[in-house]
Symmetry: C2
Subunit: 338 residues, 2 copies
DNA sequence: CTGAAAGCGCTTACAG
DNA sequence: CTGAAAGCGCTTACAG
């Protein structure tokens, strides 16, 4: 059998209370006692049972992360920074991927309600789940990027209309006037924001956002490629396209190649997020960088702050985004178009 | 306060024992009792406390996954299939990324020893960690891809020498004789295997594996790009390169472009793993497909089988790999070289 | 079919 | 500085 604290106490000749203190709160016991208990613990290979500890102290030091999926260029970096921050603060991380079904999400939410985790980070707004079923969680929750809850749940993210604005202004600044957009599904809040931001930015510039120049996709590479194909089939195709994500931009680039269009000479593209999909494309594509790692870290700090009762930390946090131009020269007929 | 089983029992007018049975083991109580307890539970918003349950039944229904990192094209799909399989079998998943430091790995191993998880999936052989510090874990562990333990710990993976063999034979079959290799770090077991497999395959084909035609990198895209640059600087550069991973192949492709080399006309490339890095390159690169999702699923089933005491399931599992040629024509001077 | 009791392995007031 | 006792919230033999 695995040794318990009782075994250690017996070996060291002290009470379990003292053994517990010697191990978890060393300052409370005499030097000699501490040594004796530690020796006893290591001699019998004692390992604390954290489940028992959790039950007693009423916390698990574990947080849950909900993401729609993990298999793309966007989410992994965020999960990595969440994990790193959590570990630095003494928390373990459980993950749940919820794109598969509503049932998955409900099952994971249960873990929060069932006391297995102390709080939850949600970044699965993109699954079209609008809110938890049942009562609003009383337990700490922080959402990333997408506003899943109406209010009361702090968000860490960026202003996605600004993302779109920077992208559109970059293209317009290079002389483009017929600018298209590959949009994500309306169910993904941040991508819907980018679409709205695209239309607003075009209007501010006095450019018409022709709905025929906006093609929606489900966010996947393959689906974005179809959207680009659709844009190119337009009688007057755009000379530049703002793709809602770098992954979509990378797909659009592939389609341009198939059509014999050189990028950016024949078609200018810009993505968003700042993932490797933009950086490793050839040519590297301009993008609007979203500080995903920082968002993950901040959200984790905020969540743990809430768990620990530092409510003061809570509140929406909007981090700045940045245009990474990577040189996207003017369109062929920029002079004429301008 | 959160209602406990005691509250439910009182509301329903039964003992806590009966309340527990009604909720967790409904067959053991009378219909009317079951209904009364369920009504009581829902009326007060009772949620079971899984921590207390875990302490009592001595299992957590949670597994731990150790990966070096998550931010690439290789690991996410595996984690996704692990999570999916685990959830289907009623297990939650905790993650730990261990590339940062030995301390991280030790901290996560503690969770296993400390009873917070029932078993562990390790796929962080690539961090150069050779084994757990301390005694070999008595708890269920299954390793993926890399052999971290000498023995006694089952592995689910592929034969990486076969991976290399398929790749080399593909290139040789297209007439190449001067074949180079971009190798991963020796610390990553499976990449070291691929390197050994490369040398063996070359010998079997009567081709010389010139050590000057092998360039090692740390596995990152950037580092692989340097390795390719190095190969091209060779007085007699290879006409084809087997890159140990698709990510490396994608980096090699970028370098070829910089050097004005058309792929595959001027330089044939093949990667391995079968990730999007190969499929979304332009041109799409040939690769040797490693069934990562299936490996994740199988390993998870095996681990949970071990946890549940079905020891019979354990044992190494080697899954087949498959060449995805995607057309890689002969080198320019194939006739002369052959 | 149901209840009283023990116990999973810890921590922490309370008293000394 | 240390110990006896209570208790975190469940489950499960045991007895009826």
């Amino acid at each position: 059998m695995r040794p318990t604290l009782t075994d250690v106490a017996r070996l060291a000749g002290v009470s379990v209370a003292t053994a517990s203190r010697a191990l978890s709160n060393p300052d409370l016991v005499a030097d000699s006692t501490r040594r004796a208990v530690r020796d006893a613990a290591s001699s019998c290979g004692y390992k604390i049972n954290l489940v028992a500890r959790s039950l007693r102290i009423q916390r698990t030091d574990t947080i849950m992360v909900l993401a729609p999926h993990i298999d793309d260029a966007f989410y992994p970096a965020i999960l990595a920074s969440i994990e790193e921050t959590a570990m630095a603060l003494g928390y373990a991380v459980m993950v749940g991927f919820t794109a598969k079904s509503e049932k998955h999400r409900a099952a994971y939410a249960e873990l929060l309600f069932n006391g297995r985790v102390d709080g939850m980070l949600v970044m699965d707004g993109g699954t079209g789940v609008d809110r938890f079923s049942g009562p609003k969680p009383e337990l700490p929750v922080v959402q990333l990027f997408d506003r899943i809850y109406d209010s009361g749940v702090p968000t860490v993210g960026v202003d996605d209309r600004v993302v779109a604005d920077l992208a559109v202004r970059h293209l317009a600044g290079n002389g483009h006037r017929r600018i298209g957009h590959i949009a994500g599904p309306a169910a993904i809040w941040r991508l819907a924001e980018r679409r709205r931001g695209f239309v607003e930015a075009m209007e501010r510039l006095g450019l018409h956002a022709d709905s025929g120049q906006i093609a929606a996709c489900d966010g996947s590479w393959e689906s974005a490629a179809q959207a680009m194909t659709q844009l190119l089939a337009h009688p007057q195709p755009p000379t530049a396209v703002f793709c809602a994500t770098d992954t979509m931009a990378s797909a659009a680039l592939a389609v341009c190649r198939q059509h014999g269009l050189a990028v950016p000479r024949d078609m200018a593209l810009i993505g968003a997020d700042g993932t490797v999909d933009a950086a490793r494309s050839y040519p590297a594509l301009p993008t609007v960088h979203v500080p995903r790692a920082e968002i993950g870290g901040r959200a984790t700090e905020m969540l743990i702050g809430l768990i620990r009762g530092h409510g003061g930390l809570a509140g929406d946090t909007i981090l700045p985004v940045e245009l990474l131009p990577r040189g996207n020269p003017a369109p062929k007929h920029a002079a004429a178009a301008a």
